[in-house]
């Protein structure tokens, strides 16, 4: 304590006092001295507060300028110094700031509080504002320490009882906050051996006691940990390149912290790659906004150029639906087949002929219906001279749904008959089981009734008994649709 002794000497007028603090964050020492000085009515301008290694102010350098070493001691019956709880908690925190003027500012506030005890409420006062600013930056520094300290595991056998897992971190705080934040890390990592090394002093916890040591250097800390690879890959993966907001990141995680955070090494590349990644996603995932055509003819014209899914690369043509413009019934198949592709009309091949016969049998007039497919292009693989049908994927059906929905919007059928699971997906947007969905109507969003049944091509692949059984079911479904059509017209 640099030779200061307390004497009972009364304060002398015009004298200047210097208080040497034992540590830059010693709030309790400041509080005791400040209390006594206020009681002795020592004016704020007459005190210098000097931290270790600091000069405090000009007077301290010049011992001849009337500096009085001995602090006055208040009379026994001196009025006690008063301070609100709010001021004390603020002061405790502000004492940790690295601003050399902080103790003088706090003393000035304490002095002024004696005549105006509610002064801290007046946030327009310059001293009050300044002390709140300091408080805010210390709190922020502490918060960033809780957040950005990164432990690295070392196995040095330094722990007690053979525990050799030791976690060491290097951190560079702006203010004298290390000791004040020991409690946070102790409560959190109570059963770990850890050390936090900083240029302002170090903390060491062995599971039972907290030890402090002097300033350290970065080279004292370990330089890697295998888990960091996992952490970095997590950091890169959780980042959403579609929402780049570098400014928001920088305001919360300024660059000064980056050098001690392993994940920060990735930031540059992540930002650089973001634009390209999003562009790829958009190109692969969505398509350009298209005008919604008003008529079936315009729709067919537009569909000719559709390249939204890989089927378009098969070199086939778009086969659009055909039938009455405002047909009450829309029949939806899966996709055009070999013959449909050649003819450019839906349901003209073997399955179409089967369908025609079944429709006629149940009394449904195909010419009064609108017949189309869930997918507009023929998907196939070439085997020799033959083009073999391939089932479209769910994604292809979903992509083509845009066309089907436009057909629906123009034709506005009251009843839709979906032939097979692909057609059902094209209308419902989800895959349903045929067995569960058939036999009863499903109400669609636009109040159309959806009936689901098997695809004629499926029946054609069956033989004998199975075929007869399925054909009966198919006929029964058609009969129900016919009954509903009659009921609605």
């Amino acid at each position: 304590m640099s030779g200061q002794t307390l004497s009972t000497r009364a304060p002398s007028m015009g004298a200047h006092y210097a208080v040497q603090l034992p540590a830059p964050d010693d709030f309790a020492f400041w509080r005791d001295r400040a209390r006594a000085l206020v009681q002795c009515e020592v004016l704020p301008d007459s005190v210098s507060w000097i931290e270790p290694g600091g000069t405090g102010d000009l007077f301290a350098q010049d011992g001849a300028s009337g500096l009085i070493e001995c602090l006055p001691v208040p009379e026994r019956d001196a009025r006690p110094a008063r301070a609100s709880k709010r001021f004390l908690s603020l002061a405790r925190n502000v004492a940790l700031h690295s601003d050399p003027e902080r103790f003088a500012l706090l003393y000035r506030l304490l002095w002024r509080l004696q005549s105006n005890p509610r002064m801290m409420e007046d946030k327009t006062d310059l001293d009050v504002r300044r002390v709140e600013e300091l408080d805010k930056s210390v709190r922020r520094d502490s918060h960033k320490m809780h957040a950005f300290v990164r432990f690295r595991q070392v196995e040095d056998g330094a722990g007690p009882e053979g525990k050799d897992e030791h976690y060491v971190a290097w951190f560079e705080p702006d203010h004298h906050i290390v000791r004040a934040n020991a409690g946070f890390f102790m409560r959190r990592f109570a059963n770990m051996n850890w050390s936090i090394l900083t240029p302002r002093g170090c903390l060491h916890w062995d599971g039972e006691t907290m030890r402090e040591s002097g300033p350290a250097q970065r080279s004292d800390a370990p330089d890697g940990d295998p888990v960091e690879e996992l952490w970095k890959s997590y950091y890169a993966s959780i980042f959403n390149p579609a929402r780049l907001k570098v400014g928001a990141m920088l305001s919360e995680m300024p660059k000064k912290y980056w050098k001690n955070m392993p994940e920060a090494a990735l930031i540059h590349d992540l930002i650089a790659g973001a634009q390209a990644r999003e562009a790829n996603m958009v190109a692969a995932g969505t398509r350009k906004a298209r005008e919604r055509p008003d008529s079936l003819a315009e729709l067919a014209q537009a569909a000719r150029n559709c390249r939204d899914c890989p089927i378009a690369d098969c070199g086939t043509r778009a086969v659009m639906g055909e039938g009455a413009q405002h047909a009450p019934l829309m029949i939806v198949g899966e996709q055009p087949g070999d013959q449909e592709d050649l003819a450019g009309r839906p349901f003209v091949g073997p399955a179409g002929q089967f369908l025609d016969a079944a429709l006629a049998q149940s009394g449904i007039d195909r010419s009064a219906a609108y017949v189309t497919n869930a997918v507009k292009h023929f998907k196939f693989v070439q085997r020799g001279k033959r083009r073999i049908h391939q089932t479209p994927t769910a994604k292809e059906i979903d992509t083509c749904r845009w066309w089907l929905e436009n057909e629906r919007a123009i034709v506005k059928p009251r009843i839709i008959l979906a032939l097979g699971a692909s057609a059902a997906r094209g209308l419902l947007g989800k895959t349903v089981s045929l067995k569960a969905a058939r036999g009863a109507p499903i109400m669609l969003e636009d109040k159309a009734e959806l009936w689901v049944t098997a695809h004629p091509a499926y029946l054609l692949r069956l033989d004998g008994e199975a075929r007869a059984e399925q054909a009966a079911l198919f006929a029964a479904d058609l009969a129900k649709v016919q009954a509903r059509l009659n009921a609605l017209s």
């Binding site: 007046d122 327009t124 109570a190 993966s237 562009a279 995932g285 994604k395 947007g429």
Partner: protein
Amino acid sequence: MAQKSLLEKLEILADAAKYDASCASSGTAKKNSLGGKGIGSTEGMGICHAYAPDGRCISLLKILLTNHCIFDCHYCINRKSSNVRRARFTPQEVADLTLNFYRRNYIEGLFLSSGIIKSSNFTMEQMVEGARILREEYDFRGYIHLKTIPEADPELVRQAGLYADRVSINVELPTTSGLTRLAPDKDERQIEGAIAKTKDDIIEAKDARKRFRHAPRFAPAGQSTQMIVGADRASDADIVGKASRLYDSFGLRRVYYSAFSPIPDASAVLPLQRPPLLREHRLYQSDWLMRFYGYAPGEVCEATDADGNLPLDIDPKLAWALKFRGTFPVDVNRAGKEMLLRVPGLGPTAVRRIIAARRHRTLRLDDVARLTQSIAKVRPFITALDWRPTTLTDRADLRSLLAPKQEQLELFAS
């Protein structure tokens, strides 16, 4: 298929989790590991341990248990028909990863969500098991957020609440028709039923703790939910209305809004353009108005334009003030807290300061300037000892005077 390494699985399952907006770790019961065998603490305030270049905080290890899913929700990258790489963690791997990250002070805890594998119950069991290992075997006292599955058995959801600090169930879309169209396997009544059940469990557990000190805690940080914005046709007015109903009926801590963002292998029924990110921001601002500024949902809706959407160029509070100019100017030396909170540019902190400071002096414009972030925004709407906005509030071009300068809002707008 070759076994994937832990690193590969983490890449896939963190990537799949990034569309969940929430990463909050605040507002839970205080815990620490002093004197025990455990590890971890929560002290009320959340901590963001890192920030990604998307500006979002990384507070928790946010991963999916698996991105396999039997559901087929169109807006979701993990839907059954999507062509993404799939992976699956075991509950033990989740627990170990969490602990390894936690020990190095990378995270506050775990946010575990999952695609549905086999069945809702099986998935929920696996998630609860991950939380159980952390809590019971490792005595982990950090933060756990579990996304519960509305279709799962209520008893499993209750167990999740016993291990987790916060539980959440996504309502997904603001309108019933949107949900039917885009999430055909989900059911609004089931989702809201599960949220209501969780609310009852939370109230019951709180009540029990009042009477028995050692009664188990149930989701002490409450429950939250998330809505996707811009994937269906819902307007901001619809969304604000839905959010306020959710806050009122279920006592939710937070409603998160997630602007639908382009996902790889997107479904074709999604809108062709993504909504501006600013729309999400405006919704959060309106959320704040309801929670901290005393605006009724109807009043927020009054700030919307004719199409039911909040203006993008100015914030909803300013929009409301411009529509109801008759309420202004407000006298900073006399007006009550509620009226001061309506002044564009004054937040709860500034209002608190003004009320405290005016006990000491009659405020001038300079005094107000010291208490607020930007006096320019506040000035047209207040009177002070030496300030009267005179004709300013009547000017037709006030909006353009106050609207922030047009910047390029979306970096990659196409």
